[in-house]
Symmetry: C3
Subunit: 332 residues, 3 copies
C-alpha cells in the first residue's frame, strides 16, 4: 500500500568502557551513533495545500531484540499532524524542542555517542526528551526563521482526573537557518505536579542557545545551556553547560567530528559541596565513514571526568571514564 | 512485497470529563472515535475460488506510544482464514459477533466514544469482545442473509491441560443486509470455568437484536440487548439495554450522529437494592467532518447518569458524567 | 518503500495432548509446524560485491495475539550484516549454529512439532537457540563446503560491567552441500559465568553431526548429538541423542515425514539414578499438503516416552505422551 512507508535504522557496534574503580565493560551495543528504530509514516494530501501526516516510531535494541524506551511500543514517536500554509499542528508523543532542535540539531552528532551525548550534559534527561499527550505548533519558515511551541498536561503517562498528579511540560524554540548558518534558542520546562506540595520545589527549566556555521572545509558547533532546579529542587545550583565542536570532511565518504563539553552537574553538588573544579567535562572524537548514503561505519573515543558511575539513591558516585566504540549504522 | 498490506488508524483528540464528585479531567487521548491501530494483512488466491487471508492488528495508544489491550502485541486481531464458496473459517484471536456485528455494526459509531460506547451499555465488556483461541465460521450471503458461529475453548489466554480453568466462549449471529435495511441478531455466551465450583454461578449470556434503516435524508438505528448473569452471578438481575440513534448527512463531508441509550446495569444492583429509576442512561451527539475519505475531524458531547465513577472492589461508585471531545482520525 | 520487505508466517492449528496422569489438553495453538512471525528485512547493494543486510523478526502467537520468546519485540532475530566475497559478518541477536544448521537443517521439519522438536531432544534449549550480542562469521561456499563461527560475551541480556555475570556463547559449524547430500558438524558451548564459583560447574557443550540424502523417491535424515554438563553441572551424565527420519513425496503437493528420536536425558538422571532404559524416545509422523507455495495444511501425530510432564524445581516429573495436531501454515 502506498499510504505507508516503513523505515528505520539498525545501529550496532562494539563498545568498550573503562571507568574509575569499576571493571571494564566489553559489549555489543545498539544505538551508539543513532538510536535503532523501526518506523511507519505517511502523508496524505488533502488539497488546498493541506496535509495530514503521521509517524509511529519504535525504538529497538537489536543487540538483544528488545524494545527501547523501557519497552514502550512506539517509544520514539507516535503522532498525527495537520500541516498547511499556517504551519503544522502535531498531537501525540513527540520530541521536546530543546532535545530535538538544540541537542539533536546544533551538536555534531545529535543525541548520541554514550557519555558524550549532549542530552546528558545539557540535562535533557531531567526536563523533557519525548513528551506524551503533547500538542505542538510549528510555524512556517519566514526568511529562515521558524518558531515552535508545545504543551502537554502530562509529559509521561496517561493524564489523571484533576490532573494534579500530572507533570506538565512546556517547550518553545526559535530557529534560524540560512545558507551556512544555523542558530537556535530553546526553552523547556517541566512543572512540579500540583500534588507535590513539598516545600522548596519548583519547576525544572532548561534554556539553551546554539549555532553552527559551515565554512566548507569545516563546520563549527557551539552551544550553551542553563538548567534550573534539577529534579524540581528549588535550591539546586543552576547548571551551566557548554559545548564546542567541529565537523571536518576528510574525504568524500569520511568526516571527522569532535566535541568538548563542560557542565557543573548539580546532581550531588549541594549534598557534597563539591567545588566547580569538579565539573563534569570531557572530549570525544568520532570518525564516520559512509559506505553509501544509507550505511556508515564509525569509530568513537571519549574521555570524561566526573561522569555518573553509579546511581545510588540520593548520592551518585562520580568518576572518570574512557569509552571506545566501533560500529555500523544502516538506514532503511 | 505485494503479499502484505500495512494499514492502520491514528485517532487522537482532546477529551474533557466532568463527573459527580470528581475533579475534571483534561487530556489528549487516543481512540476516541476509533481505536488507534497498526495492522498487517494479506490475501492469497489459491485458485478454484479458494483464498487464504490473514490479519495481524495491534491496538495502539499514540498519546503515550504504548500498546492497547493491556500491552498485547496484536491485541485487536490475529487470525488466518480459508475462504471459498462454502464461506470462511477463521482461526486465532478475533472479534465476537455481538461485539462486532451488533455493537460495532448497528449503532451509529460502533464501539467508540467513551461513556457513549454501546460496548459498555450492552455489557460486551462482560461477555466477549475479542476472543483468543477461537474458530469462527462465516457463511456466504444468501439473498442478503449471512450467518456466523464461533467457539473458543478459552477466550482469554492459553488453554490449560484438562481445560478446567478455561472460560469457553460461544458466539453466534444472523445478519440481513438488503438495500437500505440492516438487521442483526446476536448471541454470545461465556462459560463458567469447570474449576469454578462456587454455587450460584452460571454462564454469562448476551442476546441482542438491532437494525438500521437508511432513509437517505437520515439513517435510523435501533438496538435491544439482554445480559444474563453478569460476571457469572446466577442471581444477578438481567440487564435490559436499548439504544435509539440517528445519522444525518448535513453536507457532502459532514454528518451528525446521536444516540440515546438506557440499561439497568446490574453491577451493584443486588448489593444496594437500587431501583430501576437508577438506570444508567444518557445521550450523545457526534459531528464528523471528513477532510478526505481517509481523514476526519470530529466533535463529541455526551451526558450520562449513573456511570461507573470508581471501580472499588465489590461495589462500584456510580454518578453522572458529562464528556466533551474534539479530535482527528486518520486512516492509512 | 522498496528498502524493506515485510514478511512472516501465521501458523495455527488444533492440538491435542494425552499425557500420563494428566488431563488431556485441547487447544488452538500457534507455531506447531513453524514459528509464527512478522519480520522486516532488507538488502543494500554497496557496489564492489559488498552488501548490507538486516533482519528484524518478531515471534508471535496469533492464538492469543501475544509476542513469543517471552515478549521480546524481535525475539527471533535482529541483526545487521556486511557480506561480500570474504563471506558475511552478522552482529546482533541471531541463531546459534547447532540450533540452526543441525536441528533446523538436517531434521525433516526443523525445530518444530511440539514434543517431536529436535531442539528439545538434542538439548538446544539448554545450550543456545538464539544468541544476544553475538557476532557471527559465515564463510563463502568452497565446492560445497561452508564454515561459520560466532561468539557472544553474553548470550542472554545486556552485558554487565566486568562481564563476570555474563554467560558467553561460542558456536561453530561446518556444512557440506552438494547435489543430493547435505552434511553438517556443529559445536555449541555456553560458558559458566565468571561470577558462578560453585564447584563442579563447567561449560555446557553440545556437539552434533547430521546428514540428509535425497534419493528422489525419498529423503533420508540422520543426526547424532552429545550434550555435556547440562545446566553447567559438571557431574551430569553426557546426553547422547540420535535421530533417524524420512521425507517421502507422495504427490506433487503432499509429503509424508517421520522421525524416531532417542536420548538419555540427564535432567533427573543423577538425582534419581534412573537407568538408561528410561531414555526419552519416540516417533512422530507428519503429513504436509501444500495448497500453494505459501500455504499448507498439516497433520501430525507422535508418541513419546519419558517426556517432561511437569517442571517442578529440582526434579521434573516424566511420563509418556501422545500428541495429535491439525493445522494451517501461511507464509507471506
Amino acid at each position: 500500500q502506498s499510504n505507508v512507508t516503513v523505515y528505520g535504522i539498525v545501529d550496532l557496534g562494539y563498545s568498550f568502557r573503562d571507568a574509575d574503580g569499576q571493571s571494564n565493560r566489553n559489549a555489543i551495543d545498539s544505538g551508539i551513533s543513532s538510536g535503532s528504530r523501526l518506523g511507519f509514516r505517511g502523508t496524505e494530501d488533502l488539497g488546498n495545500g493541506l496535509n495530514v501526516k503521521f509517524v509511529l516510531e519504535q525504538g529497538i535494541k537489536p543487540d538483544t531484540g528488545e524494545s527501547d524506551q523501557s519497552g514502550r511500543t512506539f517509544g520514539r514517536a507516535s503522532w498525527v499532524s495537520l500541516a498547511g500554509a499556517f504551519g503544522e499542528v502535531r498531537a501525540g508523543r513527540q520530541n521536546a524542542l530543546g532535545y530535538d532542535w538544540f541537542a539533536g540539531g546544533v551538536t555534531p552528532w545529535g543525541t548520541n555517542y554514550l557519555q558524550a551525548n549532549p542530552k546528558t550534559i545539557f540535562g535533557y534527561d531531567n526536563v523533557a526528551e519525548r513528551v506524551d499527550n503533547a500538542v505542538f505548533y510549528y510555524s512556517p519558515s519566514f526568511s529562515g526563521f521558524q518558531g515552535a511551541i508545545g504543551y502537554a498536561r502530562n509529559g509521561n503517562g496517561n493524564e489523571t482526573a484533576g490532573n494534579e498528579n500530572d507533570t506538565a511540560v512546556v517547550s518553545a524554540a526559535l530557529r534560524y537557518r540560512n545558507g551556512p548558518l544555523l542558530a537556535v534558542l530553546t526553552y523547556d520546562q517541566k512543572d512540579v505536579a500540583d500534588s507535590n506540595t513539598t516545600v522548596n520545589r519548583d519547576d525544572t527549566r532548561n534554556i539553551a542557545i546554539g549555532a553552527t556555521y559551515d565554512f566548507g572545509a569545516l563546520k563549527a558547533h557551539f552551544g550553551y545551556g542553563q538548567l534550573k532546579n534539577r529534579g524540581f529542587k528549588k535550591d539546586a545550583d543552576n547548571e551551566n553547560a557548554w559545548l564546542v565542536g567541529l565537523t571536518v570532511p576528510v574525504s568524500t565518504a569520511g568526516k571527522l567530528m569532535a566535541t568538548y563539553q563542560r557542565v557543573n552537574d548539580a546532581r550531588n553538588m549541594n549534598e557534597y559541596g563539591r567545588k566547580f573544579d569538579d565539573n563534569r567535562s570531557g572530549f570525544a572524537v568520532v570518525y564516520d565513514h559512509g559506505l553509501s548514503k544509507r550505511t556508515s561505519l564509525y569509530a568513537y573515543a571519549s574521555q570524561y571526568a566526573n561522569v555518573v558511575l553509579d546511581k545510588s539513591g540520593s548520592s551518585d558516585k562520580l568518576g572518570d571514564a574512557t569509552e571506545l566504540a566501533l560500529g555500523v549504522r544502516h538506514s532503511f
